[in-house]
Structure formats: C-alpha cells, structure tokens
Symmetry: C2
C-alpha cells in the first residue's frame, strides 16, 4: 500500500492530537476502505490543483457581489471545461469547493447535451408545468415553428446558465400542427442570444432571476418568446415529428409508455443530489466536530476548561449526524451503482428487466433525495448552532453550506411531493400481491422483505435493552416492522378515502400525511440501514474497522428510528453516542477535504481555531479601518449623558 | 370603534378573495382583540413613516455590500434615535423592517446605558467567559487601572456596534489591587476610539468581526488591550470599588448573592428575543400562506389547477406553525408582563418576593427563548421549502428572515445550554417539596400544578378520539402528565449519576439529554399552551373569535405534544389542520405588516404573485444586460458538437 506514504497526515500537532490518539481505529485504513487508493489520490490531486491555481483563491467570509461571483465562476468553468469529462469523483471534489461551479459545468457539458440526445431529463422538472402554455405552431410555408409564451406565468423560470450566458435553450412547448391540433408537450432547441455578442435575439426576453439564497455563482434565468421562429429540425423528435408539409408522426401509440420508460432515466439527477447533500453534511461535520474538540468551555474546576465535545449534549447533537454521514456515504454509492446497472440494462435493451429496474430506481431516488437533503439541512443547522457565535460568522462557511444545500430539498421535485412517488410504488406491490398473487421481489431487492410482511408484523420489540441495541440488527428488524405496518395503514387509509367517494387524485392527496409520507421515509431509511448493516457485517470489511462501523450503524438505525418512535427511542438510545466520542475526530478526518477546500478557520485540521480565526479576521477587508462615513458619525455621536436604560 | 374606518382592508381584490370570504371569523375583530386600536394605529403610523422616507427605501433581493449595509443602517439609526425612547411596539415594527436597526438602537440607547447603570446585563453573556483573562490592575501612583488582554483568546468578541463606531466599551476584567490580590470580574468603561476621528486609541486593537450569516447592518466587533490606562472612576462600582490608595471595598459579603439577585434582571433580553423570533415567524408565515393560497399547481383535471393550500400536505407543513404563532403571540406578551411585574417588584424593594419572581422569570426566559427561536427557525425553513423555488429567491425574503432569526438560537446563551437552567429550577422545586415539605407554588404559577404530581401521574390518555382533541384541555392534561413524568425521570437519572460517584458538574451534564432537556421544553410548552388555553376559554374573549382560537390552541397543543410522543400524535392529529385551512389567509392578515415592510413579492396582500415577481425581477440590477465579461464568454463558447451526455 504505497499510497499511504503519500497521504499527508492531517494530524498536525495541536489540540486535536488527544482525540486522534484515542481513536479506536486507524483513519488511513478507513480512507483506504471507503475511497480506495486511486480515488483518494485523485481527490488529493484535484484539491492541490485548485489550491495552486490563483483563479481558485478565496478568502473565507469574503463579501463578493453577485456579478463578480458569476464572472469568477464562469472563468473557473472555462478551466474545468478542459477536463471535458465529468466523473462523479471530480464532481464530488469540485462540489466541496463550490456547487455553483459543478452546476455550471454539468449544465453545459452534461445536461444540455443529454437533453438534446434524450429529450427526457430536466434539472428543474418541477417548473416545467409552467411551460404548458408555451406554444410551438408549425408554419409549413417557411418550414418553421413559431414559439410564443402567452404571459408571465407561462415563462420559463430557473433555467441554469440562462441568466447571463446561454445561447441556446431547450424549450418545452405545446406542439400545434397547421390543422390547429395540439399534440402535447415537445422540446425544441431555441436560440436565445447571439453567440457573437450575447445580446438577446429578436422576440426573446431573456434575463436573470436575481439573487438566490445560495449558489449565486450560477446564473439562473428566465425566458419568454414572442413569435420566435426556429427551423423545423429544431424539434427534438424522439417522441414525435412533423413532416415538412405539417403532418404529425410519432413512433408511440400510447404516450404513457414513453413516460413510463423514462422514469428511470430521470432518476440520475436525484441520485446525485442525494450525494451532493451528503458532501455538504460531511463538510459541516468536519467543521463542527473539529471545533468541538478544540474549543474549551467551562469545566468541573474554575481553572480548567474542557473541550465541548466532552459534553453529552454536544455529542447528542452532532454524533448522530456523523453516523448518518457514514451511512449515507455507503448508501449514495450503492444507489449510484444501482443506477449504473439500470443504464447498462437499458443499453443492453433488455426492456422488461429495465422497466422494473426503472420503477425501483425511481422509487429509491424519489425518497433518497428527501432523506439526503433533509438530513444535510438539519445536520448543517445543528452544526451551525453547535458552533455558537463562531458558526454564525460567514468565514466559517456553515451558512454557505446551508444555503448551497437548501435547493437540494426543492429541485428535481419538492421532497414532500416526491415521496408520494415512492409510497405509490410500495402500494402497487402490495396491491399486486393481494390481487394478483405476485411474489414481491425487485431487481435491487429493496422491497423483498415485504413478502414476509405477515410474519414481520407479528414480531414485537418490547424487551429491548442497551446491549441489544449495540447490534444494528435490532433497529433493522424494528424498521422492517415499521415499513410493513405503515404500508398496511397507508392502504387502509387509501381505501377509506375511496369509500368516502373521493376520486383518485383527492384520495391520494389525503393519504400523504397519514401515512404515505412516513411510509416512504421509513422505506428509504430501512434501505439505507439495511445496506450499511450488510457492510458492517460483511467479512470483506476489514476486521479493524468493523467495530466502529457497527457502532455507527446501530447509532444511525436507532436515531433514525427515533423520528418515528420517540418513546421507543427514549428507552434505548442511551450511551450509544458516548461510545463514539473518542472516534469522532478521526471519523471526520476520513471525510474531510484539505483545509484549502474546506475553507473554514474553525475547521482546520490542526485545530488551532483561534489562530486561524484571528488571522482571517485580520486579513478581512478594512477590518481596522474606520468607516468611510466616519465624519457623519462624529458629527452626530450620541452623548453619553443622554443615554437611558431601557426595559 | 372608529379605528376600523382607518384600517385599509388588505383584501385588495385578487386570488386571495376566495379564502378571505371563507374565513370563519372577522379579521378586524381579531386585530382589535390582539393589538387593540391604539397599538394597531401606532404600528400603521410607524410603517407609513418608514415607507414615506427615502432613506428606508429598498429593493427586494438587492445585493448590498456589507460596508453599504452598515452605512445605511447607521443613517437609519440616526433618524430612529430621535425617537429617544424605544417601546416594545416600536421595536416590533422596526424589527419587521430590519433587526439590525433595532439592535443598533438598542445597543446605543438602551444597552450601553443600562449596563453602565446596572453593571449587570449583557447581550452576549455567552462570550464573556473569554474575558476572564483580561486584567485590570490598579496603579495608585496615577489612580488608574491598566487594562491588558494577554492574547487572542482573551479578546472581546461579538460586541455590537464595536466593529465600526463604538467610542466607549464596557469591559469585563479581573480586578487586581496593588497587593496582587485578584477580586474577580468587574466591569470598566474603557474609551476605545477617539470620538473626533473614530480612530482607535493607543494600545487598543479594535475592529470588525466581518461578515455574518445575517444582521449585517450591525457591526459586531472585537477589542484587545495593551496597557490601556483608564481613570479609577471608570470602574462600575456597584459590586465593589477600589479606594484611591488601592484597597478593595465591597458591599457584598457573599458574591453569589449578588449573582442570584441579578438572574431576573438578565432575563429581559431573553424575553424579548422570544418575541423577536415570533415576529420573524409571523413574517415568514404571511409570505408562505399567501403564496400557497395564490399559487396553483396540478389538480383533479388537466384543465384546472388548484391552490397548493388545498393540499393536505401543504396544510400539514404550514398550519401548525400558524397555530404556534398565535400561541406565541399570547405567550410572549404574557411573559413580558411577568417581567414588568418583576421589575416593578424590584423597584418596590420587596426583596423576598422579587427573588422568587427573579428565579421564575429566569426559568421561563431560559426556555422561552429556545421555544421561540427554534419554532421560528424550523417554521421559516418549512415556509422556505413550502414556497419551492420561489422561496429560494432572495427577493422573497425567507432567506433573510432565516438568517436574521438564526442568532436568536445562540446569543444571550445557547439554547441547549440555557435549558439546563430551567430544568435545575424545576428539580429544585421537587427537592424542596420532598425534603423540606415545601408547597409548590410560584409567583407566576407556572409550576403550581406540580403540587398535584402524584394524582396527575395516575391519569391515562389511552382513549383519545378526534372529538376529544378539539378541546385543548386534552393536550393540556397530557402535557401536565408529561412534565410530571419527565421531572421524576430527570431526578432519578440525577440520583443514578451521583450514585455512580460523579461530581455535581458531571452528573448534571449527563442528565441533559435524558431527561432534563426534554423536561425544560415540555415545561415551557405546557406554560405556553396553558396560557393560550386560558385565553381561548376566557369569557372576556369575544365569542366570535373563540372558535377559531380554540382550534388554533388545540392544534398547537397536539402538534407540540407530537415532538414528545410521535405515536400518541399519529392517533390524534387527524383533520385538525383541515379545519383551519379556510381561515389561514385571514389569520395571517391579522399578523401581517404592510406590503412595504413585508418586502416579499410573493407575500403581497393582493396575492398577485406573478405580477409582483415579474416587476421585481425586471427592476433588478442589469437583469436584461449582458454580463460585463461577455467578450470572454464569446471568445470561448462551448461548441455544440462537442457536448456529450453525462451519467
């Protein structure tokens, strides 16, 4: 294992030494197990490349105007573009630096091309319904389509890169043939700006959405069209075409089939968003746990303060999220492999298998994205609060991480809305078993246990002790029960709603809160826990790592379960977090990027929080200068004598 | 009721009409009941005054550099200062506009003066321990104190107004007499900048903390001192003084008594922070509920979309927070009155009563701040997600509300740490009863029910039906049981920890997670619910408002309870949210400020979300302009042919 020699040990001597020495496992073994040598070295290479390029230099907490953010991101994108091919690992690394850069690269290099090729994917599916009223009317006299958006509400919103630079857009519009027949939504390549000048083309109103909560390096835009003419060939004709003389032709008899087949293909974005969220969580945990280990506050004696990580409360706030990060690290990789298998299946044209895989990966991704993005959102907020005032300083990056993670809850479908897709998938299996006698068995095996539903529902978990819970099989079994229970309750509820005379639309909506939403969350948490449990019990997992992984796994299982069963949790969770306290620093060392990438003074690997904090503060802009408006202040300074107490 | 004539009805005709017409109560009656005529008119006057002053003009979502934010906030502060006296209602109004302005006014007009007068209060108590190593050594030869901070870690952090403009600071430092005896922390008025030039004085290193996640109009600063000499008289000598020849004299024999007496006085900040958080929540709910009522998405038929507020899921996400806002509106006023009563008690010098009041208001404020700030933090995040992509646009203000609310979780004590104060208070009552036979009865009656603890613990709530839950007495009774139960469990746990040989410091820390933290939260939620329940059942409450208030109260009770008992909740919560859907728009009309103050296009009173959104987008800076760096783009534009699919 020569690569070990190349790992620069993050344990620069300092306040974190004591925890690194107490860790129950070797962090380099964990790195080798999780990433492998090649990927680890590749990541370090990317980190160093960015660090050595002045274009990527930045100052923690700097106040960069949006226009400048977009320009800098664009210049960085030009460099990134030279890589030509984005890999997931490269995206991981660049995302740790700035997601807006990944988004710009992905939208230019991956997305636009993929959409043109497939006419199926969309980063902002949610907003597409707005495009329903944009029309593309075919004019056979010039062999052109004429694109029109009737009003503001029909405009395209949120399109990435469209705010400032996109020269072409893929526009979804209702296709009309000259006989005034509407053939439904199709996609068209529409030039929006002159590539030579970047000025909007005639009839195109295109501009910038303005400031967002985060990811402001990416220019999201809007567009409206007034009698914009495009050649007939600009119709992306996979689902249907128009002949030169204006007749509509399509290879699909039933458009629903086309939609069903594309479900799986649409899952790729959500699978990767799950991982984006995880990466944000990893960065936040690195900052908060290193800070907690280095920061001292109070203590049994007045003379000696203890690291805040020693407080049970601090452990209880942070360590479950650390366990979740390890669970999701394994899970996001496993569902990515599922997705790759599905894609290979599609290429091999084994259609029936592919359809089942597509349905399952759709159900997984529609719940893995909520699981990942919400876990990260809550975890980052907990990290921010756990760092107190230092977490509120922009320079420590927890605010940016939270803001950049936030859209993961929204795009590619609102989390709450997506969960309905997953519960429908599960209900369809129950229905197929009950009415058609189908055996429950899926390509990726996430639902297989439902076949044993009746036996599982008979099991009881009343006698749980602390010892029981060290074994993640215990929360895993409880989860199986929970999913089976919620599935039955969801179905009962759906039947009740229908018995009340509600139509399918209303019946399904009224089942979301009770119990479909919980069902979908329990299903994906079960799947995540199941796969982590398998990893920790696998004989191929290094023996030296298995104990700490088992603790992480059981903690994750019990903690996740607690959101479903507070009472059960209170009986069980005791001491679990305690056991991982001494491993926490080493566990984040495994997840952490370099200090340059992390970009957080209180999160540096050497734990010298005050030195970093001070030098960053001092290097800030005009930190010691009086304000430019000082004269106004001095001419109107409050007089000490006029001050009066308040409240 | 002449004032009704002056109320300009917010129901400009538009998409919200249908909900306003369906409301079960008259919103003007609710305004009159909650605020009263005088305060309502005063608030409208303040709102109009701000709106009519160009200095207060702003553009939703504008990207203002920090330096500019500070300057503008300072200029606004100069105007606000003319008011001379801050009232809670004025603070409410200005806070709805920008909390950084309130902070600057409060710190200059209220805080500094109050500290000089009382030498007791501190907005940033949490950071004071850092000041423990700053020293003030008395030099009798010049009758001066010499102030020194040994290193970075001993510097003052976070002091409001210190970043740019403060000329004097109140500094806590260890007082040394010439005999080298340390007399503990005392406070000193130290000049830090020359009032004529705003330049730092010799020996003073004073500067700006840099960018924060929010409230960037306020300049938080740091200061370090190197042999800074101040006159002997600058010692704030309420707790101790030094004679000209260097002897220490104090009126207190036991310094702990002084500390105990000041507990109540320190509660004022936390009481008001609870209200600040509520105001942020009100603004966010106004935006999200109006948006949900105006925004249409999907529907049973393809041709007709329905308002997203009609979806059970959207109601389930938002309406419990609306109920919480009404509960907290009543609660924050009631604890403010408790605090005023305590202050009056102090002025009347009725010391024994005051001490008990002080202890109780301390316990209330140490848990009301966590309750208010976390409810707001989670509620604002839910509002942001419930508005989808529109919630992610800066112009709609949900990001600013979240960021400006965030420090409420941290300053005046970290929420989690503060809760320990409340649980200790409750445990002390149990101890006094069990060991000294004391009857449990407190000045503000928040603990009186604990006297009946044994009877309450015998009650059972297994037979709850939906009908039961419409009466808020049911969740209220469940809460009483919960507090009694958690109090007993906390005490058991504490005794176990001590039996294990842990010292008091460790024993208390190890009880926080089980169960002291839950105990403190349950106690304050119970108090909030109890007072809301009393309001809704009070015969003085207008009959026409009681039904909707009762629904809000029972929903708040059940929803809060759910964080403690998920299982219990799932049996009960059904349909509660449904019943309030049609009242939601009118309920936020009651809470909402004017559109100018709200400053959120999707939250405008007329519900014309797209018109406002579009005009705001279009009025943005350089919205339709090509970027200044367009030439670089055009010389290096990606070639369409080189694009390739990804994933």
């Amino acid at each position: 294992h020569t690569f070990l020699k190349e790992i620069s040990d993050p344990a620069l001597h300092g306040p974190l030494d004591v925890y690194r020495n107490k860790a129950s496992f070797n962090w380099k073994d964990m790195v080798r197990f999780i990433d492998g040598e090649d990927i680890y070295l590749f990541k370090q290479h990317v980190f160093k490349t960015l660090e050595n390029d002045p274009l990527f230099a930045r100052q923690p907490g700097e106040d960069v105007p949006i226009e400048k953010k977009r320009e800098v991101n664009f210049l960085r994108y030009l460099l990134g573009k030279l890589q030509l091919k984005l890999s997931v690992y490269l995206e991981d690394c660049l995302g740790m630096y700035d997601w807006a850069l990944v988004a710009k690269l992905f939208l230019s290099l991956g997305m636009f091309g993929a959409t043109v090729a497939n006419s199926g994917s969309s980063r902002h599916k949610k907003y597409l319904h707005m495009s329903m009223r944009t029309t593309a009317k075919y004019d056979p006299s010039t062999q052109e389509f004429v694109i029109n958006s009737p009003d503001f509400e029909a405009a395209k919103f949120w399109v990435g890169n469209l705010g400032k630079t996109a020269t072409h857009a893929v526009v979804y519009a209702q296709l009309y043939t000259p006989d005034q027949v509407c053939h439904g939504l199709h996609s068209f390549v529409v030039p929006v700006r002159d590539p030579k000048t970047l000025l909007a083309l005639p009839g195109v109103l295109v501009g910038d959405m303005g400031k967002k909560l985060g990811q402001n390096g990416l220019d999201n835009g809007f567009a409206m069209f007034h009698n914009v003419r495009i050649p007939r060939e600009n119709l992306l004709n996979k689902t249907g075409d128009v002949t030169p003389d204006g007749r509509y032709v399509t290879p699909f008899k039933d458009p629903k089939k086309r939609f069903g087949a594309s479900l799986g293909a649409l899952s790729g974005g959500r699978v990767y968003i799950t991982r984006m969220a995880l990466i944000n969580l990893k960065l936040a945990l690195t900052v908060a746990i290193r800070f907690s280990a280095a920061r001292r506050q109070f203590g049994p004696k007045d003379t000696e303060e203890i690291p805040v990580l020693e407080y049970q409360l601090q452990q209880w706030r942070l360590i479950p999220y650390l366990a979740a990060a390890y669970a999701l690290e394994n899970f996001t990789k496993s569902i990515f492999m599922n997705f790759v298998e599905f894609q290979i299946g599609q290429m091999m044209k084994d259609k029936s298998d592919t359809a089942e895989m597509g349905r399952e990966i759709h159900a997984i991704s529609c719940s893995s994205k909520p699981l990942g993005s919400w876990t990260a959102q809550r975890g980052i907020q907990e990290c921010r609060e756990a760092c107190g005032g230092h977490g509120y300083l922009a320079m420590n990056r927890l605010g940016d991480l939270r803001d950049d993670n936030d859209p993961n809850c929204t795009y590619e479908g609102d989390n709450n809305v997506l969960l309905q897709q997953t519960s429908s998938y599960l209900l369809s299996w129950l229905h197929a078993k009950q009415f058609d006698g189908v055996r429950i068995e899926s390509p990726f095996h996430t639902v297989d246990f439902l076949e044993e539903s009746q036996e599982i529902l008979k099991s009881r978990f009343t006698a749980l002790t602390v010892d029981d819970c060290v074994d993640s099989a215990v929360p895993l079994a409880a989860y199986k029960w929970l999913v089976c229970f919620l599935l039955e309750e969801s179905q009962k509820r759906l039947e009740q709603e229908r018995a009340l005379g509600n139509d399918d639309f209303e019946a399904r909506n009224n089942c979301q809160v009770y119990y479909c939403r919980s069902l979908a969350m329990a299903y994906i948490e079960h799947t995540c826990l199941q796969r982590f449990h398998e990893l920790t019990t696998n004989q191929d997992t290094p023996a030296g790592l298995r104990p700490v992984l088992r603790k992480l796994c059981s903690l994750y299982g019990l903690w996740s379960l607690s959101s479903h069963m507070t009472t059960l949790y209170q009986e069980q969770k005791d001491i679990e977090e305690m056991m991982l306290k001494d491993d926490a620093v080493a566990l984040v060392d495994v997840l952490a990027p370099t200090d340059f990438i992390l970009n957080s003074p209180i999160g540096c690997a050497d734990g010298q929080i005050y030195n970093h904090l001070w030098s960053t503060i001092m290097q800030g802009s005009k930190v010691l200068e009086r304000p430019s408006w000082w004269k106004e202040f001095c001419s109107d300074k409050p007089v000490l004598g006029s001050l009066r107490p308040k409240l």
